[in-house]
Amino acid sequence: MTAATDAPVRHRPRRAGGAVTLTTARLLRIELRRSTMPWILPVIAALFWFDSYRFGAGTPPYWVLRTFWNMGQGRTFMDFAPFVAGVAAWIGSRDGRRRTADLVAGAVWPRWGAQLAAWAAATIWAVGAYLVFVCVMFAVYAHQESLQGSPPWWWVAVGAAAVAAFTAAGFAVGAFFPSRFAAPAAAFGAFLAVIVSSQNGFGDTSGWPLILPNNANGNYQPISGIFYPYLPDLPIARIMFLAGIAVAALGLLGLPARAGGARLRLAAAVVALAGLAAAGTASVLVRTARLTPHGMVIPALHDAANDRPIRYTPVCGHAAGVPVCLNPAYRGYLSTIAADLRPVLAEVAGLPGAPVRVTQVPGRYASGMFEDQAGVWVAISGTPPVLQLPLDVFNTLPSPTPGSAGQFDQELPLLSVHEFVAGSGGGTAAQQAVQAALLAHAGIPLAAQPQALTIFGLPDWAGEDLQGLVAGSGSANGPGTPRGPVYAAARRFAALPAATRHAWLAANLAALRAGRLTLAQLP
């Protein structure tokens, strides 16, 4: 026997970093297993189904429209926020409620580290559930109907950041005020915040309220995902803001004396300040946001590559011999549009300024929540004349909503005929009469035209045309019935043989458009 055999085998010590990583992973695994967060997920799932999913259905088959309620207006994270904040507060108050704060203060791990592990586990559950629920909802939408455009992934990321931020804020409330009332207090605070910001977000179209993740003003309109990419400027600022709040809340946890040593507390203070700085910077950045035709731009965050339109090859059909070409995302509406325009185009065929082609063009972002807030429009321009249709501006695109198809079938001919006869402004009495007569032959009887002129979203001229057609007989109970001189002239003009009407228009259209004709000069 030698001394050599008695000597203990000496292992090379493992690196401390690896041990810390392993211990962290174990701690996180334990916290994941004991976390309370999964208990609340069935309640959130039920609410998510009722609120986010169901109320999002029933819109035309475009991602940006189908997800307007649950992503643009932030309902998905609103369904999560109060609950994850409350449960996180319950988890954060655990040591205080059980009176074990002194015990864990003497453990190897600093208390702040243990709290971060508990928060991380709760957040993994909450954010994981959020992502799963959203992906399932998207999958169901896509399965039910072939949605056009692209999903709003940036808004999904904002929601995930919001869920993490509310979890952190709730956890901090529980850690600082350990009581059975910490959970409802945190939930109530989160609830009040999301409800009030949701409602006030409806009204504020610029400035700091744009940082609110449920403010859809000027940043979630139907051009996005179809004609242009979703602009990520505002979502990036929102993620920065929400992440800043989360980091600041977590930093606050490390400030009390019991959280750890002096260095650790100093680090926590730095973390808290960094979080506040991030949130503050994001709030300042959104004040520089400006509305462009295809979304909200924040100059410091903007990438010019996102300004490039999405390329596509139009799909075309024909209406009265005129080509009608649409973005392939609107392929499903091609036959409807051709059918709606066919009698109008047949009526004006061969007349000066009559469109020789119908083309879909992108609309423009409006400062409110919807593009139609600037008024639904069509335009005839170019040489040869082209009828331009910004279909994304139409709020009446046929959808599962009852009555929507009928409105669209009236709105499109009405806008087209008005543009042809009177341009984009209000019409003279003679123009109103000719417009009414042409529409009568395009499938909208004179008796139905007052109702058509009240379709929501029509430009201001619709009100003037209505007053001319009903001669002031409208009231709060209805738009009134056609009567008066415009109506009489329209009936007279509509009763002419088609060839006579066409010949008169060919000879007098320029004077009519210029507003130089009176009702008495109509045949």
């Binding site: 309640v43 409350g86 959970a183 409802p184 109530f188 009040l192 009204g203």
Partner: protein, 227 residues
Amino acid sequence: MTAAGVQSSPPGAAPAPTAGRPAVAPLRLAWLYLRSRRVPAAIGLLAGLGALLWAALRWRWNVAGGAAAQALIPLTIETGAAAVIAVTTYGPFGDPERATGRWLPWLRLAAAVALTAAAFGALAAGAAGGALPGGTLALLRDLGGMTGTGLLSAAALGGAFGWTGPMAYWLATESVLAAHWTTPWIWPARPAHDRGAAICAALVLAAGFAAITLLGARDSGRGPVPD
């Protein structure tokens, strides 16, 4: 060494309550029960919510939107009150209390009824700060119904999570208000004198009282609970 003297109290110990003071014992039991449920703190919170409602109405805190939106803050405060009542059902003792507490169901019922009444009183006093949408009748109906949802969720999920019921109900209600539904089960969307809405709210409150009386909160020894 004998067992003599084992049953005698140490010098200076408080004498055990005797059967000679029957009137004090029920009061003491009730007081201990209320303290174990943190009812005094809950009453403080309800008073705070009443003050919040008073301030909201006095200084006309409002959110953007139509008539339905104007009721959002008062209804949110009522939701908070219902959540506080629901959380008081959480009991820390579990099986021992259930096994020995003959009067427990009555104590649960009495505490829930008393706190609901206190919440109504606090919020009605707060409503004096201005014009409450729907008036006191709507306050009574909405608070009662939401308290019912809280008690039911406490019975199902546990007292510590009783607050989830009113929160979930109010989030669903907010969507329904936006969609202009008029079902009486969404009672805040109906006028104050609507009989159907009042019946629905009363049914939910009665179900909540019944569940909390007969079953108690889930964490009182009736099943596994999260912590």
